[in-house]
């Protein structure tokens, strides 16, 4: 048991932060939703919402 823990720890030591990011699907999910929400959706909605309404 103790040995097994040790190898696991050693495995983790080698992992770079970059690799940790790639290995975390939930972090990736956050990025993948936040990016388009901010740059495409929110920015776009703000522009359309700020258009003046045409007079009848």
């Amino acid at each position: 048991m103790a040995d097994e823990n040790n190898t696991d720890e050693r495995e983790e030591e080698k992992i770079s932060p970059w690799q940790q990011m790639i290995d975390n699907p939930f972090l990736l999910l956050f990025i993948g939703v936040a990016m388009p929400t901010v740059f495409y959706t929110l920015w776009g909605v703000m522009e359309i919402a700020s258009l003046p309404v045409a007079p009848y």
Partner: protein, 578 residues
């Protein structure tokens, strides 16, 4: 206790519950493809000017049904099957919460039936995009929402499976590249579905009179976050399928795991922003918004696709060269198994996606050029290259691969299967190329009568445009024949194919569990870390490992530059200043 069986031919492990779900989803997808294909024939025969088959109302109804059934239902059912395969089989893990997965499947079926019923009732011919203020019947939107909820459940079951696999330590190191690609597809799917809910739920409420007004510009903005992103699910997933098939057929290892994963990462960051290319001609949105989202962001996403387009054939080339096929630049490709439909479908998917779909997509995603082809039949020409030659053919290749492995049946009619990818690709390429050509002459998409007979505001297209649409019509018929061959072979194999395992009965082909005797309670051995990569292992060699692929990439680049130039030339002629 999770039960597994191991495929004796490929060594892949199948979790009992997961494999039934894969089968059910894949079969549901193929049924949708069948319906979509029949509808495609009606559509294409109407757009073939000399045939002009359907009356106007029916044409728009059938076109709506074709778009929805093909692009939404066929593709997404199959994608869910791929997610379960990538999460469970490739990671040697049990699937998380199979009951939820079945609930999602049932919702998807209910939603799909509801929407199709609304369309065929005739009062929801609003096209796949369902732009307001056109109003469909409420259950058209409701069905789509229910379908999306089902698919969302599938995505979360997939994410849950990743967690289970990690906790139960079913694999060493990081997940395999194919699973990583599926994860990217799943992430994009979640954004897609959220955007769909954002727009379709209000539209549903509007259709029942609860909300009085939906702004058309706002609708288009949010709808395309769904419409474009959903295509990027397809791209991520079919690229993963390319890697998978290259691995299975050639034992090819990615040239560089790092580079491939980084390319997928670019997808996560940038691919969905390119949704803006659908709105390049929309008023109301600023140039800054358009340029940020389509230039900077889109080019980075395109870069990622080009990396995949380079590393997949590159990996195949490296694997083939190791086997001694080293003569000249292309022996590895000439001696590839061209009569194996798994490979030919996959390779045509790759080349067609890059050359026809990719080049036209980047060109039309340029703000200035977009205006000369917007809403012309050029657009369907482009996306039949991407979603049909690209995605659909990748799915077909995977189906051929899975018939023996997952369904445990021998494929019937092997001779026809050898031909099928070529027939389908020939027809579809004609459709894509000649629709694009006709679009360049201004022929409108979603248009019943290009002759404008009896219309006071008619327009006369040059005779060439009629010829081009006629050729596209012939191509469409050939493609439908190719599609029908696929359905006959795939479904026929599930029903009549020789059983490779005594338990694989008729119902088992459609998602019923195999008898217990097929499984063991033994947990699969832990998936070992992938062996070192093809290229990274010996970096010291100065020349590029895959010269043939390099030449192919250069050909793509030159084609792109020429085609880009041609389109700027067209654009310059619009105003006739010089």
């Amino acid at each position: 206790m999770a039960q597994f069986r191991q495929c004796p031919d490929t060594g892949l492990f199948f979790h009992k519950e997961a494999e039934n779900l894969m089968k059910a989803n894949a079969v549901a997808g193929v049924v949708c493809l069948l319906i979509a294909g029949i509808l495609a024939l009606l559509v294409v025969l109407t757009r073939w000017p000399a045939v002009h088959l359907l009356p106007a109302d029916t044409f728009y109804m059938v076109l709506t049904a074709h778009g929805v059934c093909a692009l939404i239902f066929w593709v997404i059912f199959f994608e869910i099957a791929i997610l379960y395969f990538a999460g469970s089989t490739l990671l040697r893990s049990r699937l998380a919460t199979p009951r939820w997965a079945w609930a999602g499947f049932v919702l998807m079926i209910v939603g799909a039936v509801m929407t199709m019923a609304a369309i065929f009732a005739g009062k929801s011919s609003v096209m796949m995009t369902s732009y307001v203020p056109m109003r469909a019947e409420p259950h058209f939107y409701l069905g789509l929402v229910i379908f999306a909820v089902g698919a969302l459940i599938g995505c979360f079951v997939y994410l849950g499976t990743l967690v289970v696999a990690k906790n139960e330590k079913t694999y060493e190191g990081s997940v395999p590249l194919v699973t990583f690609g599926a994860t990217v597809a799943c992430i994009i799917a979640i954004f897609t579905i959220a955007s769909g809910a954002e727009i379709l739920i209000p539209t549903y409420l509007w259709s029942i009179g609860y909300i009085s007004h939906i702004d058309p510009a706002m609708y288009r903005l949010i709808w395309w976050a769904l419409g474009h992103s959903s295509q990027q699910i397809n791209v991520s997933a079919h690229v993963a399928v390319w890697y998978l098939i290259a691995g299975v057929i050639f034992g090819a290892r990615p040239m560089s795991e790092k580079v491939s994963r980084a390319a997928y990462l670019l997808y996560i960051f940038f691919l969905q922003l390119a949704s803006a290319h659908h709105l390049l001609t929309d008023p109301g949105l600023s140039v800054e918004w358009k340029l940020f989202n389509t230039s900077y962001a889109m080019y980075l996403a395109v870069l990622a696709s080009m990396i995949h387009g380079l590393t997949v054939p590159g990996a195949i080339e490296v694997a083939q060269r190791k086997k001694g096929l080293t003569n000249g630049a292309f022996e590895w490709l000439r001696k590839a198994p061209w009569d194996n439909p798994v490979f030919s479908s996959m390779f045509i998917s790759l080349v067609g996606f890059g050359f026809l779909g990719g080049i036209s997509g980047v060109v039309m995603g340029t703000e200035q050029i977009s205006i000369i082809i917007h809403n012309t039949i050029y657009v369907p020409g482009h996306f039949h290259a991407t979603v049909v030659i690209g995605t659909t053919m990748a799915w077909m290749g995977l189906t051929y691969l899975l018939i023996p492995v997952l369904f445990r049946r021998k494929m019937i009619m092997p001779q026809a299967a050898k031909l099928q990818p070529y027939v389908f690709a020939l027809g579809m390429s004609l459709v894509a190329i000649f629709h694009m050509a006709a679009g360049t002459l201004g022929v409108a998409r979603r248009h019943w009568d290009m002759g404008f007979a009896g219309n006071p505001l008619g327009f006369e297209y040059p005779a060439t445009a009629y010829l081009l649409m006629g050729i596209a019509g012939v191509g469409g018929v050939i493609a439908v024949v190719g599609g029908a061959m696929f359905i006959v072979i795939a479904v026929g194999s599930l029903v009549f194919g020789e059983k490779l395992q005594k338990e694989a009965g008729l119902l088992q082909s459609f998602g019923f569990p195999l008898a217990d005797s097929a499984y063991t309670d033994e947990k699969p051995a832990r998936l070992p870390m992938a062996p070192s990569e093809a290229v990274e292992a010996h970096h010291d060699e100065s020349s590029f490992e895959a010269p043939g692929t390099f030449i192919l990439a250069m050909v793509l680049l030159v084609s792109f530059v020429i085609y880009y130039f041609i389109n700027w030339k067209y654009l310059s002629e619009v105003w006739g200043l010089s």
